[in-house]
């Protein structure tokens, strides 16, 4: 509640400008925001809570509280959009950092997606917190001490055809038949053999995933399967510092060419169960040729309730599919 003053003059001036000459020509689709609050996350916070940090685009971050719920915000007068990927990456990292810091200071936050803006001033935020207090209270208390963990099982050393043949009677049968057949028959049998190999690989992947999901579900509150390959990825080297130099070192190997992802899961778990989950993953990693990537604790991005779609007017624009 302290860092607001620095921004007031600036914000108001821009608000007036935006009223008079809206930049509608250049960005016909972007909504005009005279005055808004960029939302990072919601936390449990008392009246006098403060968070000293800078947010997206170096804006000073403040906390607006109402009835023990605090919204981490900064004052803004427009959405954040840029054609410059490095710029967007810096914004995203700042967004993430602020949410992380808020989480460390106040416990599990309910994070907002990047570029979520509420029209109006601090009073509007307070009003919204008040209106939604029941939902928010329930969501926050439900998530207390729970964090999101990401699990990725990668096959760094794919199981060989030989190993599969050794394990599967049908493949051995086909292998023998191929040897004793005419050319045309052998051709079809080989196709059948290849199909069987593909099926076995898929079955192995599925059973491994199902088994892991089941074991994790016993320790975690929720387990979700994600797409096997991330649909969007900024870069491996998301860092706060200038990423240009870092990127060079990893170029060429940017694609995760070091193995095929067998499954990607995201887990909501109590922080006390982190070790139990780690030991389940150790078991999986003990398998030959498998590697487990475990990250967290993250703010519960995947497990946060959907807010604001219950009649409140929201302009949303999802980027068109490429």
């Amino acid at each position: 509640m302290s860092s607001d003053g620095a921004n007031d003059g600036d914000g108001a001036a821009k608000g007036l400008e935006a009223l008079d000459e809206q930049p509608a020509d250049e960005h016909a689709e972007t909504p005009a925001i005279d005055e808004g609050r960029y939302l990072y996350c919601l936390v449990r916070a008392d009246e006098d809570a403060a968070l000293e940090t800078t947010g997206v685009d170096d804006e000073p971050v403040s906390i607006v509280t109402e009835n023990g719920i605090g919204a981490v915000v900064h004052a803004c007068d427009g959405i954040y959009d840029s054609a410059d990927l490095a710029q967007i990456r810096r914004w995203l990292v700042r967004h993430q950092t602020v949410v992380d810091e808020a989480g460390q200071a106040f416990g599990t936050p309910i994070p907002f997606q990047f570029d979520t803006i509420l029209r109006g001033d601090d009073a509007a935020v307070r009003e919204w917190l008040h209106e939604e207090s029941e939902t928010l209270e329930r969501a926050l208390s439900g998530l207390v001490d729970h964090w999101e963990y990401r699990v990725e099982v990668v096959e760094v050393d794919p199981i060989s055809d030989e190993a599969l043949i050794e394990r599967d009677e049908r493949l051995r049968e086909l292998d023998e038949q191929i040897g004793g057949s005419g050319e045309g028959t052998a051709f079809l049998l080989e196709k059948q053999f290849d199909q069987r190999l593909t099926e076995l690989r898929a079955a192995r992947r599925e059973s491994l995933t199902a088994d892991l999901e089941e074991r994790l579900a016993a320790k975690a509150r929720e387990v979700h399967a994600l797409e096997r390959s991330p649909s969007a990825k900024l870069s491996n080297d998301i860092t706060d510092t200038e990423s240009e130099t870092v990127r060079d070192s990893s170029d060429g190997s940017d694609e995760s060419s070091d193995g095929e992802a067998l499954c990607r899961l995201t887990v909501l778990a109590h922080e006390d169960d982190e070790e139990a989950i780690g030991s389940i993953l150790d078991d999986v990693a003990a398998n030959d040729g498998l590697e487990v990537r475990f990250t967290g604790p993250w703010p519960p991005y995947t497990f946060s309730p959907e807010l604001g779609d219950d009649g409140t007017a929201a302009d949303e624009r999802a980027n068109p599919q490429p």
Binding site: P31, A32, I33, G36, I79, Y80, D81, Q113, F114, D115, T116, I117, L118, R119, G120, A124, W128, S181, G182, E183, G184, T185, A186, F187, L188, L189, K191, Q192, Q195, H224, A225, L226, E227, P230, S231, A232, T266, T302, G308, T312, A313, A314, D315, E316, R317, A318, N319, P322
Partner: protein
């Protein structure tokens, strides 16, 4: 992928051949799968299986030769990769598979002019 680029001028012929061969390859794959299915079903005599197999083997060999002659092996592979991605996306959307990753974009709450 929203467009198939066959190139222009000098490249156009090769681009078009790549496209045609890719489509033919996909068709042959489907034929082969169907042949295997029929073989498994036990409705074909040994003689029929042998004949079907050698016909398909011949076609496949011809296609491989054609790709090598035209130097479009990589082009065909790339295009098939793109098409696979396209089809997978379509299937996943159809099944409503879990997509925890939300679409990027912005959200602005609070009505205009309030």
């Amino acid at each position: 992928m929203t467009a198939i680029d066959v190139g222009d001028g000098e490249d156009a012929r090769q681009g078009l051949v790549t496209l045609v061969i890719t489509v033919v390859e996909i068709l042959i794959d489907a034929l082969e799968r169907e042949a295997v299915r029929r073989m498994e079903s036990g409705n074909l005599s040994d003689e029929e299986i042998e004949r079907l197999g050698s016909q398909l083997a011949t076609i496949e060999a011809e296609i491989e030769q054609l790709k090598a002659d035209e130097e479009i092996e990589d082009g065909v592979d790339d295009l098939r990769g793109d098409l696979d991605g396209l089809v997978n996306d379509a299937i996943e959307q159809l099944h409503g598979e879990p997509t925890a990753t939300q679409n990027p974009g912005y959200s602005v709450f609070g009505g205009e002019g309030e």
